[in-house]
Symmetry: D2
Subunit: 382 residues, 4 copies
């Protein structure tokens, strides 16, 4: 018997639609599906878009009043898909109202906000919460996590990891909220949160960082074609050295200026017993090298194995066939399933608000390192 | 204003769910979405599964009576997801009842059935019809079609194409309907229909074929672990030489015995002015070589370009972001959108029942060639 | 103590230089090197080129008189690098003169010539002979051979193999000896001999074939830019179905019209227990899939392993380091070493004139099949 | 008419053989070959190995007395293939003796030694000198240089570059000269010199660096299997941020602990107009992305082009065929040709001792940065 969970979602831009897609289609992708998500209400900034969101998303109603979502008894989960600077108040209000929370990344715009969220969440251990760290739900990344947990790497030597795209290489691209500090943030916040979360998910806490940031285009037009410009306040690029709590070290980069890159989420991890590689643009496979394979003439039996992760999700995943090429939407579907499934069992799922807080703590340490020009310890509030 | 289209679907196995997913989520993926698919009825073989299909799929009702779908005025489209041997009667009945038809591949089990379908469809030019040739809706394949139509290849020299998987390499795998002639068919029918359709979609009609088939495992257990066996009546593997109507030639293979293969749908096309390559396991890219690039020392400017097709669907496709890795479900969503969009404009879409008939004509010629050991002309009834 | 072997080489075009490079540098590549190749004489068609060949190649003398090579007691091996139609007489003469023979491929221009050579070689079991099937000496191909010999594939299901290049796609390219039947031959003879040899080396004899050939450009200018043309007498392209003596089947293609291809020597082999893939343009690796790896969620442990063959030649290979990228020249060096090493131990090496005869027997069967339009049995004279 | 150049080589280990191979075979690889290298003398540390080197390498004599090489009038070039700590004295002596110098990398063990060499070389402008930066002679890297010089990248944003191998991941591997500071150096010196040289060759001077080093295995056995250990004095791993003189920035890593890596020399360069990628294990191709290609639906015409560099060396390179896979030995052959060709024209070639000095200056700045924990300016003595 699947548990009914009422959903109220705020923010119906690109990512709001992606989350809605997942709620709508859970019964098709999971069999048996232990949860039944009922799309109750959707909140946007104008009634017209709210009504349209309700229609497109099959929500029972649309509203511009966030409190209306909180007031409904038939809404169990608040899903937050608004711009980053709005997350704090909405999460606090949702938790205060006794709602479970699922939040798109990054959690919020600075560490102190994140700490408030962490504190609020800890005070309500009966509430479940989740972060949309969808990369954790790529089968190949799930496999990497499993292998590492089983000791595949042995002692970690070093790794490198990137989250690249090429969205801002054109100096004529005008300013937007993702280029303004108060609303969101730069490459570190936007892209870095995903890749930092992944490396900690796989390899444990980062204890110290040293980083650099750069803004390649320092002025942008106020609008397409405009001659008037405003300064760009955020980082286009960040790189950081990360010393891991369990030993070993890494280099992490995030860039919006990696010309020619699509969704450039990658990692390479080198350990004493093996190594692992992943690239989001080749998402069906994890590449694993096992030092326990015998070496010898003609290559012995050593080499990277292209593990066929494809759609080989664990049960109750049932759609599509395990051998078919996996795509980006599916990762979010699995992420939302994981959250709701955990909720239905009164436990926390794979990625929580605390994980969002932890990436924010690393961000803050990187920013501190950039300011001082020196290494910075990471302080995790949870 | 989007047009309402009522859907009745028959057969709710794997592919029925995939089609249902598409109908459910069209408004999220397309903006503006010119059609509104209403999921009215679903038909399966037992009331219990029908009820469950209605619930999971959000259909208004479930039934075991196919005629009930046909009788409803609020159903405009009959979507056929049953085993292949049932397609003929269901399509004829649906057309007779004045319904538009969307059919999963292969169209049917032999050419004479296909001819009956073609005749029935021709008699009702006011009805739209579509085939689920989802491979046509991979952006990289759409790009290949566009480039070829623009003359990219020049004169065709030769090509090779495969549809491989590895599902039946284990001799202990028991018999099933896909291994029995009366219910479905072998590699030629099951996989060949997709790859033959693609090569004709890209390169025009096949005029003559010469082929071989092989059944590697000729006896299979009647059930898992059973010692009793029955003969396997269908081909595990087929290869064919294809002479193209416009000149040039190809080699096409379909196999269920390509050990280590996931969804091995691939093509390589060599022409006077350029060449193209695609592999479904690297679905985000089309590889294109252009002889008009200058040659010279150090490679000149020549080489295969990895065209970043990703999710760069034409408008009104709106989800997900164009740069994100594409997956298999999305191809079906685009296929169904294409069909319904055409229907809303009272025209035929990209893939029709006639295309299903045409692949069946090639299948029949291959079978004839296998029987005679000689080349066989392909006779297209439409 | 390394054995001195005197070399006389006939034909100092491209391939003559490649062989000469190998003889010159054996002591650097192999340590200890069991043979000492002394470059005694080189024969070309004009004294001027012969003198220059001697100088460049460090031969003691150059000559236009092939018999002069045969007459020398200090010449042990005759290495034949002339156009294909000259091989027969030169090999027969060399064997008659008691010389060991190393011959570039293809062995000769037809099966009856090949049979004469086989007969002559059999009559002189004390003479060693070798064929320059350099592809056998790519470490990744050596690895494939070793794995298959160890039972890696189990029962063979099917394979496909190509030897493609793009050298003749331009219709303006004038006629040359490789396009004329009497001097050499087409794609089947030129490229097919390599890939047919490889598939038989790996998988055993081909018992039956059915093939097609095509000449895409049927007339060529007599010279660059000339308006006068002559007919092209040879095949630009060949494809063949091959039924293997030990069971299983394959598709082999050779083409000079594979636009965009460099050195397109590839194979994919699918068997009950595993599969193997190789591509000469990615020569450092063999890709191997092992069905004995456990399957399961998230890919289990299955997938293609990229075996790091690189320069991991067996001892006494000593140069360069095993981890460095391998190149084409090295394969010929290893081939010549293998031949001379075997000779120094009075045995036949890895590839002999008999192997050349065997590929010629397959060529002849393909030609017979093309003529009759039917399957042809392969008759091996040795 | 090719110029005779007498060669005296010191150090006949692995790299001495590689250089010797190049000298021996120049007339085969280049046609016309403007130089004739005569192998006069070879010097090693023991007469037995010297005699053997002379025999294997076809030098006129072998000696243990380096001065004997310097004293010979028929020796024009001294080629230095000894361990790094011996380079300084040998180069100075060679220049003093009026010899041209070709030196394997890295130039020497510290910047002050490098400065002495630079000063000595500047004082003798009539002498030519070269460094074996063989990576500059990979056709794909030559192509990258050409494209960048032609403005392909536009403004540089950022790059990353590695030189990885996996040679020391096993803690049981005993100490050796490459792990001892006085004789050679660690990853920075050994591998970093190549990749730093490449990035400066492509992108111009590095102006500032900030780096970290790490020694993963701090104690090693004195001999295989020994229980006695000694400290490892050198870096196993180095990473550095590099700010470029012309703008833009990069991340460079060198590691001997990149488990599973063969010859992991790679770069990715992102600029305003395009980007470039290279990987030594896929050496036949350069990957280039050109922002001037039009974008659009279905990928427009954008994507990485796999430029077919293969063996498409500029003339007079004549061997092997341009389409064949290139290997590591060939890069050294081209490097030595470039040096001798320049020498024959009384000019400096592509890579000189000054380039060796410049990489040493970067090494020194990295070391300074590691010591201070802060950024360090690079001071180039030439």
């Amino acid at each position: 018997m699947s548990r009914r969970i009422g959903i109220g979602l705020v923010g119906f831009g690109f990512i709001g639609k992606v989350h809605t897609h997942a709620y709508q289609t859970l019964p098709l992708f999971f069999d048996p599906c232990p949860v039944h998500a009922e799309l109750v209400g959707v909140c946007t900034s104008r009634q017209e878009t709210a009504d349209r969101a309700a229609q497109i998303g099959r929500y029972s109603f649309g509203t511009t009043d966030f409190d209306q979502l909180l007031a409904r008894d038939d809404i169990d989960v608040i899903d937050i898909c608004t711009p980053n600077h709005l997350h704090l108040d909405q999460i606090l209000a949702a938790l205060e109202a006794g709602k479970h929370v699922y939040c798109d990344k990054p959690l919020t715009v600075d560490l102190s906000s994140a700490q408030q969220i962490a504190a609020a969440a800890k005070q309500r251990p009966n509430l479940c919460h989740g972060m949309a760290f969808h990369c954790r739900f790529v089968p190949a990344c799930m496999k990497a996590r499993q292998l590492i947990a089983d000791g595949f790497l042995g002692r970690l030597y070093h790794y490198r990891a990137t989250y690249y795209h090429a969205g801002y290489t054109d100096p004529a691209r005008p300013i937007s909220w993702r280029l303004q500090k108060e609303f969101g943030g730069g490459a570190l916040s936007d892209l870095g949160s995903h890749i930092i979360d992944m490396m900690m998910y796989l390899l444990g806490d980062i204890s110290r960082v040293r980083g650099s940031i750069e803004t390649f285009i320092t002025e942008r037009p106020v609008a397409p074609g405009a001659s008037e410009t405003v300064p760009v306040e955020v980082d286009d690029y960040v790189c950081l050295e990360a010393v891991m709590g369990r030993g070993g070290r890494g280099l992490i980069e995030a860039s919006r200026f990696a010309t020619g890159t699509q969704d450039g989420f990658t990692f390479e991890i080198y350990g004493e017993r093996g190594s692992l590689k992943f690239d989001m643009m080749d998402p069906n496979f994890l590449y694993a090298y096992d030092m326990r394979d015998p070496e010898g003439e003609l290559g012995g039996e050593r080499g990277y194995k292209q593990i066929e992760c494809v759609q080989r999700y664990p049960k109750p995943s049932a759609l599509p066939s395990p051998k078919l090429p996996v795509g980006w939407m599916r990762f979010h579907t699995q992420s939302i399933f994981d959250f709701l499934h955990a909720l239905s069992e009164n436990r926390l799922g794979t990625a929580t608000l605390f994980d969002g807080v932890r990436t924010q703590a690393v961000d803050e340490a990187v920013t501190r390192s950039v300011d001082t020009g020196d290494w910075a310890e990471v302080h995790y509030p949870c």
